[in-house]
């Protein structure tokens, strides 16, 4: 979907066109789901967060300014929704997840190894790394999505890489043994 097509789709969403929402879903489904899965570590919650993101998008789409970057806007809604869920979990004392509430998480073996290390990162560091290194947003865009400074994004991505390299070094060492 190019920029012009995206603008037209957004205008159609403002008119309540369901097919336009579906086009947005098809375009962003995977990056949104991936990010939510990694932030929330539970697919069921991630799906709820994506659904909630679309409902919030619908409620706020009339306020979306033409010319602003849509993906940044959409991811900002998603990340705020994820943070709300994490805040609730932490309030309930569920920093880690209960098995009975977590039936679905599964992934490819190789991905799962790095995933564990990424998931162990502190919340903001993880969000910065996922948006910058996995979803390939620029540092400016990540800063706008997370409402933090570009400097803070830089530092967070740098520290995330440091931690992940250290994890990689240990796991490669373990593999040799």
């Amino acid at each position: 979907m190019d920029r012009m097509e995206e603008d037209e789709t957004i205008e159609a969403c403002k008119r309540g066109d369901m097919a336009a929402y579906q086009r947005i879903y098809e375009r962003y489904e995977q990056p949104l789901l991936r990010t939510a899965c990694r932030m929330l570590r539970r697919q069921e919650d991630a799906e709820d967060a994506v659904q909630e993101t679309f409902l919030k998008l619908h409620r706020g789409i009339n306020g979306f300014r033409r010319g602003a970057r849509f993906s940044t806007y959409l991811f900002r809604i998603l990340l705020n929704t994820c943070y709300d869920v994490l805040r609730l979990r932490s309030k309930a004392g569920f920093e880690d997840l209960d098995a009975d509430l977590l039936p679905h998480y599964s992934s490819h073996e190789a991905e799962h190894c790095l995933m564990e290390a990424v998931e162990a990162l502190p919340r903001q560091m993880k969000a910065c790394f996922l948006l910058f290194a996995v979803e390939e947003f620029t540092q400016d865009e990540v800063a706008r999505i997370l409402d933090i400074s570009v400097g803070s994004v830089k530092v967070n991505v740098h520290r995330a890489r440091q931690k992940l390299r250290a994890w990689l070094a240990v796991s490669l060492e373990g593999g040799k043994a």
């Binding site: 995977q30 697919q43 909630e52 409620r59």
Partner: protein, 210 residues
């Protein structure tokens, strides 16, 4: 031991040429560069597709519900303003009631949950009763908060509405889970936290200055 030049290079404080010159004579930086290449390659695996069958159908149903439910919202605004003063009386009463019921619910929950996590029948009945009272009190607070929200600027209104929407979705999911397993103390604790969060958010709405 990591060399500080690698950090500087990664933070953009050292040019690629300078780093290349340095890396040829620094074992630590060579090692870190190798790990970085490996990390970049492994990051690719994080882009593996996530399957979520029927997610669009759920979103579509939710959107249709919103679209139908939203009609006439602006007409309601002026009607809601007429009740603007009513919340001034309702708030202190509702907040007081909430505090009392909330404390009772927390107390009951803490006292009655056996170590196994399964609640005895009598205690469960008691908790459900307190929970219903707590939910009713929050509903009263929500009614009182509506005119205040209707009078907010669009950005603030949408901020609070989104937050309350997320909390309501969590409460709903807990209710569904509890319908299947009423004695699960973990879900009940999660629901209680969501209810407390809703209470605090509504109190913030009511305390918000226009």
């Amino acid at each position: 031991m990591s060399c500080e030049k690698f950090d500087k290079y990664e933070m953009g404080e050292l040019s690629a040429q300078e780093f290349e010159r340095h890396v040829s004579e620094c074992t630590s930086c060579r090692e870190q560069s190798g790990l970085e290449t490996r990390l970049t390659a492994e990051t690719e695996a994080l882009r593996a597709p996530v399957r979520a069958p029927y997610l669009w159908e759920r979103i579509e149903a939710g959107l249709r519900e919103e679209m139908n439910g939203n009609t006439g919202r602006s007409d309601k605004k002026s009607a809601l303003r007429r009740f603007h003063k009513k919340w001034l009386i309702l708030v202190p009463a509702a907040a007081l009631f909430l505090a009392a019921v909330g404390l009772a619910a927390i107390f009951a929950l803490k006292q009655k949950i056996p170590a196994s996590g399964l609640l005895a029948d009598k205690a469960l009945e008691n908790i459900e009763l307190k929970e219903r009272e707590y939910i009713r009190a929050i509903q009263d607070l929500e009614k009182a908060a509506r005119p205040k929200m209707a009078g907010m600027d669009l950005e603030m209104m949408s901020l609070y509405r989104d937050r309350l929407g997320t909390i309501d979705a969590q409460i709903e999911r807990c209710r569904e889970a509890l319908a299947a397993n009423p004695a699960n103390a973990h879900i009940r604790r999660y629901m209680l936290a969501a209810l407390q969060d809703k209470q605090e958010t509504l109190i913030r709405v009511l305390g918000n200055q226009d």
